[in-house]
Symmetry: D2
Subunit: 325 residues, 4 copies
C-alpha cells in the first residue's frame, strides 16, 4: 500500500504581516505566483505548480498544514478510507477551496501532525531559465518537511509500513531505538524527517538549491538587507544526508532550511544508512554545534478543526547533541 | 506496462588500452571498484553499486551494451517475453557472468541499440563523504545514455508506449516531427535521449555532478594533465534540460558528458517541454556552436551476438544546427 | 623614472545609444554613479572612485581615451614634460572638464594610443557589501587595458624603460621577438597588455571579478536577457595570466573582458614568464579556439584632437593562432 | 621613510611533530618545497619563492619569527640602523643561515613582536597551473599576520609613521581609541593587523585563496580526514575586510586563516574604513559569534635571543564581542 504519494508538496504558514514576510521570502529568491488580501503564494524557480508556500495572514504564527501530492485523484479516496479506519478525523475541501488546488483531504497522522493530500495544483510558468530573476539563494523547489514528534519509532513505522515511504538514513542509540529518521517517496534523501522532541511540531521546511554557492550568496544578501539575525545555523554540512545547509527563521519564526548536496535513492537495494547517536559527524560533518534555539524551537500546528494542536514531551531522553541531526 | 525499470545503470565500453583509459577516468574522479586482466570497473562517488562503467580490453573501441536496472528479478522474465514477442533476439547471462551482476537479459530495442536489463548488482561503499578522494570533476553518479538513431519518433514511441518511460523535453520541427527526445524513468530529465542521426550509435553517457564548479575544476585538471585535446565541447549551458555541461572524449573516442543543473520531473502533471528546431537557445543557452565532431562522431555498438551493429542514415534531414541539442 | 603611475583608471567609450548601453552594463552588475544627457558614469562594486567607464553619446563607437591614475598631481607635470620632450602633442583639461576628475593630461604614446593621466577623481560609495545589489557578473573593479599595436616590442620598451611598468608575462617566437606582453604597475598581471595586430586599437578593457562562478552566472543572466549573441568567447582559462575569462561585445561592439584568477606580482625578484608562440596552452589553457572576430575586431581611438586615429598593419606576421593570447 | 617593505613574507613556527604537521598542511593544499631532519618548508600554489611557512621541530609550539620581504638588500642596513636607534636589539643572520634566504635582520617591534626582514629568497616553481596537485583549500599565497598586542594605538603609529604601512580599516570606540587596525604594504587590506589583547602574541597567519568554494571544499576534506576539531571558526564573512574566512588550528594550536574576498587598496586617496566597536556586522557580517578560544588563545613568540617573549595585559578593556574583528 503506498497510495502513490509523489512528494512533499506545500506548506501553509500563518504569518502576522504579509508584507513583512514577502520582503523576507523575496530576498531568498522565491517567486510570487499570486496574492490576495489574506494570502501570498510562493514558488521556487523550477516549480511548475502554483505554489509550495502559502502564507496566510493571521494573529498567530502557526503551521496550518503540510501537504503531500499524490499521483491521481482516486488515491485521495483511498487515503480517506485509510485514515478513517485508523480513527482519524478527515476533512475534505472541494477544488478551489484551497486556492489553485483540486480537492484536498486533510487529516492527522499518528503523531498528531496535520497533513493534507492533493492530486491537482494549477500549473505555473517554470522560471528555471529566467536567470535574470535569480536572487538570494535562488530557491529551486520544495524538498522536505522536518517534524519533531514525541515517538519517532512510531512515526517511522506508520510512514513506512502504512504510507509506503522508504528510509534513507536514521539515527539510533546503542539499544537500536530510533531517534531520528529520514523518509522519502521521491528518490531523494527525504520528503519528511522525524526527530525526537516535543511535538507534534514542524521543525522546518527544506528547499532545494542547485549548488553550494547559492547558500554563501544568500548569507551575504541577507546580511546586506539586515536579515543577519534571521540566520540561525550554518552554513555547514550535515553528516546525515550530506546536505550543505543553512537554517533561517522567517519574520514569524518559522524555520526554513536551504539545502543542497544529497543523493539519489531510487534503488530498491539501497540500504538505509545508520548513524550512531554519538557519532560527532552525524549532526555536522565539520563539527560545528547548533544553537539551543535550533533544538528547542519549532512551529506548532493547527488541527483539522483549526485549533492549536497540543504537544507532549518526547519518549526518549532529550539530549542536545544527540537527538537531532 | 513499465516493467519497473529504475534507471540507466551502466555502460560497457571496449577500450584498446586499459591503463590508458584508467588514467583518464581517474582524472575525472571515478573510483575503481575492481579490476582483472581484461576489465576495469568504475563508479561515481555516491554510487552504492559495484560499477557504472565497465571497461573491457579489446581491439576495437565499441560499446558492448548499455544497461538498465529494474526493480526486481521477475521483471527480467517479463521483459524477455516482451522482447521475444517483438521478434528481438534475447540473450540471458547467468548471475556472475557479468562481473558483480545478477542474471542479465541482453536484447535489441527497436532502433537496433543493444540494451541490457539487470535487477541486482553487488553493493559497494558509498564514497560521497570521502572528500579526501575527490578529484577532477568529482563524478557523482551515472545519469543517462544519449543515442543517435535514424528514426527518433519510432524510438520515442517504443520507450514511452512499451517500456513506460516519460518524456521531459523534446525538439520538434514545424511539422511536429520529433527530432530529439529526452526520456526518463527516474524523476530527472532523462535516463535516455534519442537524437536524429546515423545510428544506432551511442552518442554519449552522461554523469551527474553536484555543482557547476566541478566542471570548471575538471577542465583545469584535465589541461594540467595534458588532456586538453580530450575536451570536445563546453563548458556551456544547454537550453534543453538546463544542464551545465562538458563533453569529453576518452582515449578511445567514447564520449562522456559531465552534467549538472537539471530538475525534478516526478509529477504526473509535468508537461513535456517542446523546443522548436530553430530556437537558438535550445542547443546552447549562451549561443555557442558545437564542433562538427560532436554532430558526426559516436560510438558503434556490438549486437547481442557480439558483431558490430550496422548503422543507417537518419530519416529526417541531418542539419548541423538543428538535429541535436 | 616611473611617474608613480598607480593603475589603469578608466575608459571613455563613445556609444550610439546611451539607454541601450546602460541596459547592457546593468546586466553585468555595474553601478551607475551619475548621468547627464550625454554621459553615463559606471563603476564596479568595490570601486571608491566616481567611475571606471564613461559612456559618451556619439555617432561613432570609438574609444576616446584610456586613462591611468597617478599618485600625485605633480606627476602630471613631469609626465607633460616627458611627452613633450618625446615630441608628442599634449592636451591639458582643467579640473572638472572631465566630469569628477581633477586636471588631466591627454597625450599619445609611442604606439599612437590616446592615453590620459589624472591624479584625482571624486570619491563614491564602495558597494562591496551591498550584496543585495549584486547582479550578473558582480563586476568588482577595472583591471586592465588590452591594445593591439603594430610594434609590440617598441611599446613594450616604452612602457618599461620610460614609464616604469614591469612585465609579468610575454609571448615570444623562436627568434625572441616579442609578440605580446603583459605589463603592470599595480601588482597584478597587468594594467595594460600589447598584442601584435592592426593598430593602434583598443582590443578590450578587462574587469576583475571575485570568483569564477560570477562568470557562469553572468552567461546565464545574459542569455536570459537575450544577450547571448554578445558573448564572443569563453568562458575559458587563459594559459597566459591564468585568468578565467569571458569576452563580451557591448551593443556598440566595444569588447569587455570579465576576468578572475591572476596572481600577485609584487616582488622585484618575480621573473616574467615567457610563453612560446606555439605553445597550445598559452591562448587557452583548455585548448579552445577563439573566434575570428576576436582576432580581427577592435575599437579605434580618437586622437588628442578628437580625430579618428589611423591604423597600420603589424610589423610581425599576423597569424591567428599566434599573435594573441 | 618606508624602507621599501614589499609584503608579509613567511612565518617560522615551532612544532612538536613534523610529520603530524606535514599531514595537516598537506590537507590544506600546501606544496612542500624541501625538508631536512628538523624543518619542513611549505609554499602556496602561486608562490615563486621557496617557502612562506617554515616548520621547525621543537619541544614547544611557539612562533620564532614573522618575516617581511623588502625590495632590496640595502634596505636591510637602513632598517638595522633604524631599529638600533630605537634601542631595539638586532641580530643579523648571514645568507643561508636561514634556509633559502639571503641575509636576514631580526629584531623586535615596539609591541615586542619578533620580526625579521629579508630581501632575497630562493626561487621555486610556480604551481598555479598544476591543477592536478590542487588539494583541500588550494592555498595560493601568504597574505598577512594578525597579532594581539596590549597597545594597538602605539603599534598602529609605529607601523604607519615609522615603517610606512598604510591603514585600510580600523575599529574604534566612541572615544576614537583604536581597538584594532589593518595595515598594508602590498595593495590588499593587510600585511599585518593588530588587535587589542594579551600580547605580544601571533593570533594567526592568513593565506589567500582564489575563491570561496575553496573554503567549503576544504571543510569537507578536513572533516573526511578527521580534522573536524581543527576547524575553529567559520566559514563566514568578516564585515571588516569583507573576507570570506575559515580559521583552523594546526596540530600545535597555531592558527591559520584561509581567506578570500578582500579588495584593492592601491590608491593614495583610499580612505581607511572606520568600524564602530559596537557594529554587529564588523566581526561577522552574517552575525555569527566566534568561540571563546578565538578570543583568548594565540601563539607566543621567541625573542631575538630565542627566549620566550613575555606578555602583558591589554591597555583597553578586553571585551569579547568588541576587541577583535
Amino acid at each position: 500500500m503506498n497510495f502513490d504519494i509523489i512528494r512533499a508538496g506545500r506548506v501553509k504558514f500563518h504569518v502576522e504581516d504579509l508584507e513583512r514576510s514577502k520582503t523576507f521570502y523575496d530576498a531568498l529568491g522565491f517567486i510570487e505566483t499570486e496574492r490576495d488580501d489574506c494570502h501570498i503564494y510562493l514558488r521556487g524557480l523550477e516549480e511548475h505548480n502554483h505554489h509550495s508556500i502559502c502564507l496566510k495572514k493571521s494573529n498567530e504564527p502557526v503551521a496550518e498544514v503540510i501537504s503531500y501530492k499524490v499521483a491521481d485523484d482516486r488515491h485521495l479516496d483511498e487515503l480517506a478510507s485509510f485514515f478513517e479506519n485508523k480513527g482519524q478525523l478527515i476533512k475534505w475541501k472541494e477544488a478551489g477551496e484551497e486556492k489553485a488546488l483540486g480537492r484536498t483531504l486533510r487529516t492527522t497522522d499518528n503523531s498528531g501532525l496535520t497533513i493534507e493530500f492533493y492530486a491537482e495544483m494549477e500549473q505555473a510558468e517554470i522560471m528555471l531559465q529566467r536567470y535574470d530573476l535569480y536572487k538570494g539563494a535562488n530557491v529551486q523547489r520544495i524538498d522536505h518537511f522536518n517534524c519533531m514528534v514525541p515517538d519517532v519509532e512510531s512515526a517511522y513505522k506508520f510512514y513506512i509500513d502504512e504510507l509506503g515511504f522508504r528510509c534513507s538514513e536514521y539515527t539510533a542509540a546503542a539499544d537500536e531505538k530510533i531517534w531520528a529518521a529520514w523518509l522519502h517517496r521521491k528518490p531523494s534523501v527525504h520528503d519528511v524527517a522525524f526527530m525526537n522532541g516535543i511535538g507534534p511540531r514542524l521543525h522546518h521546511v527544506g528547499f532545494w538549491l542547485s549548488d553550494p554557492m547559492s547558500i554563501i550568496n544568500c548569507c551575504d544578501v541577507l546580511a546586506a538587507l539586515n536579515y543577519g539575525p534571521n540566520i540561525e545555523r550554518g552554513p555547514g554540512r550535515h553528516g546525515l544526508s550530506n546536505a550543505f545547509f543553512l537554517y533561517l527563521r522567517d519574520p514569524d519564526g518559522h524555520r526554513i532550511e536551504l539545502y543542497n548536496g544529497d543523493y539519489l535513492t531510487s534503488d530498491p537495494d539501497f540500504k538505509p544508512k545508520r548513524w550512531d547517536l554519538d557519532d560527532p559527524k552525524r549532526q555536522t560533518f565539520w563539527g560545528h554545534e547548533a544553537p539551543d534555539s535550533w533544538f528547542e524551537e519549532a512551529t506548532q500546528f493547527l488541527d483539522v478543526n483549526g485549533r492549536k494542536t497540543e504537544t507532549s514531551e518526547p519518549l526518549l531522553e532529550k539530549k542536545k547533541p544527540t537527538f537531532v541531526i
